[in-house]
Symmetry: C2
Subunit: 334 residues, 2 copies
């Protein structure tokens, strides 16, 4: 493409910053606006705020309404995990005539949890003629898109199981803290209760697979529990003693009306995990297992999934589209 | 869907028969016509010819022109591997206003080897308003679509390597013979020379990945050589002595103008293969490896890929569409 894609970045937290740095490498992309509510970022250059180490010539603004007036091909949105929290932001983007690619986990497949809102977003997007899409590594890839792609060579699918085991000890300190490493079981329980320890997206992946493959999943449930350290674990940043919390284990199950389990999604993120890997198992004809040894790197992969989706979403039909609707791949340039 | 998809089956060889048996399981599909040039099949019921063990109420006909007059939603085409051989069949399907899903290997990605013909097929399909699509397990999945999907979580892609190792000893007798098991090296060389030992599709997968990911592959080359048995191998059907040919090894390389190898696709199909698996390795950011232990079952998977594509192709925009364009998945019913 000779005309660069014009991009507005909406949200420059850790994920958004990674997205900005990756977009900055692309030959045919240019930022035309940047939004963040943090007053400490307002007025600063987008490149500096994103940790790029150089200016991008775009000042970060706290005034979304103003920035969204700028003509653009796509808004890259990364401000929150809950769809109800970001609903107005998304609607404002759509109404300003912008396609949107978002890292909002609940947007990856909002049709079950937020059916009314999904309908509204889809209708507004179609009316305006733009596309709205949520993606990332999980939800967006490991537990849904990759499993759906694998299922394309199955004659029958009875059950889908995905296990993602992440060694949090090899990740950045905020992630190690986020999974509860070093806490007591009581502290961990309080953090879960307060909603502060929770990876978002398993029910979304579960619903997406069930609906796309026609698996019975009238009930979708999720549990969050600690993984306790059996021995002392020392990471680059912290120490976890045996008996303390090493991290988190979340299991999401989809079960049919008869109680049969058709979907099992498990995420373990803890320090010292010896067997990090992403594994998908389809029970069907034929049975199929797929493994990504060491797993898909969360931070790199989420930024990649969002950025790679940009030209595909710009080219996609109008409406709310999930990764089940989009043929994903690496996008070298755009 | 309450109205069943109307299907014409074009070609009822081993792959076509597997496709028919799978379609016969679908709740919302009905055959409205069947074509095969073999006079021994003419007039017989499609279900019997396909080995279904029951009638489908459709007589197989050798008169393609007549059958293609029947109103249908899609023609499922499985008659040959070479695009020039099946070109007229495909054009006749399109001109009769039918979408087409085909197992023709060269149709999976014809843009490099047959640029003029690709353009013609695409233009005719768009003009008529129908979709033309080639798929299967390889090409169509292991060496292209799965690799493209994996690349969607990469920030950079430098090189893609795919190895597919099939233990032919666990497959049907025709496949064991087709890979040359039990031949002398001289016999094998003559069969390769005559074009009778050759798996089709590696250059197609190579070109598809290169074009989709922007990898330099000005040159695409392929070698076919025997895998010699190191020890005696006994399968259910035949015996291969040490020193005889156990099967075939094909390697397709894509190299850039500077001679750098950006794509390496290797297919080994031989009796006694101890480490059957499909493996994809992407060199990039991050490096990623994906493995399907024991590999994807060729016969089951090709029929599945074709049948699962049917409703997706019917819903796709008009034109020649490859698996790079279609978001694949298992299709339970249609």
């Amino acid at each position: 493409m000779s005309v660069p894609l014009r991009i507005i970045q909406y949200g420059i937290g850790p994920i958004g910053a990674g997205i900005v740095r990756l977009i900055a490498e692309k030959a045919h992309a240019e930022f035309v606006g940047a939004i963040d509510i943090d007053p400490a970022k307002a007025g600063k250059d987008l490149g500096q705020v994103a940790g790029l180490g150089r200016d991008l010539g775009i000042a970060v603004s706290g005034d979304a309404t103003e920035v969204l007036q700028i003509p653009a091909d796509v808004v890259v949105h990364s401000t929150g995990s809950y769809l109800t929290d970001v609903k107005e932001q998304l609607l404002n983007c759509l109404r300003a005539n912008h396609n949107v690619v978002s890292s909002c986990e609940e947007l990856a497949y909002p049709l079950r949890k937020h059916p009314e809102l999904s309908k509204e977003l889809d209708e507004v997007a179609r009316e305006i003629g733009v596309t709205l899409h949520g993606t990332g590594v999980n939800p967006g890839f490991v537990m849904d898109k990759l499993a759906l792609t694998l299922s394309s060579v199955c004659q029958r699918v009875e059950r889908v199981e995905v296990r993602r085991i992440v060694d949090a000890g090899k990740r950045r300190l905020p992630l190690q803290k986020k999974v509860g490493a070093g806490m007591s079981a009581e502290q961990f329980a309080r953090e879960v209760e307060a909603g502060r320890i929770k990876h978002h997206g398993l029910p979304e992946s579960c619903a997406m697979i069930a609906d796309a493959l026609g698996l019975r999943a009238e009930s979708i449930t999720e549990i969050i529990e600690p993984v306790m350290a059996k021995t002392d674990v020392q990471t680059e940043f912290l120490k976890v003693a045996a008996g303390q919390v090493a991290g988190v284990r979340q299991v999401c199950r989809g079960t049919g009306a008869g109680g049969e389990e058709t979907l099992y999604l498990e995420l373990q993120m803890y320090v010292g995990a010896p067997d990090a890997a992403d594994t998908i198992h389809i029970t069907g004809v034929p049975d199929l297992t797929l493994t990504i040894p060491d797993g898909t790197h969360g931070d790199l992969a989420t930024a990649a999934a969002v950025v790679n989706a940009i030209p595909l979403v710009v080219a996609a039909p109008a409406g709310l589209k999930t990764v089940a609707d989009i043929p994903v791949r690496f996008s070298k340039n755009f």
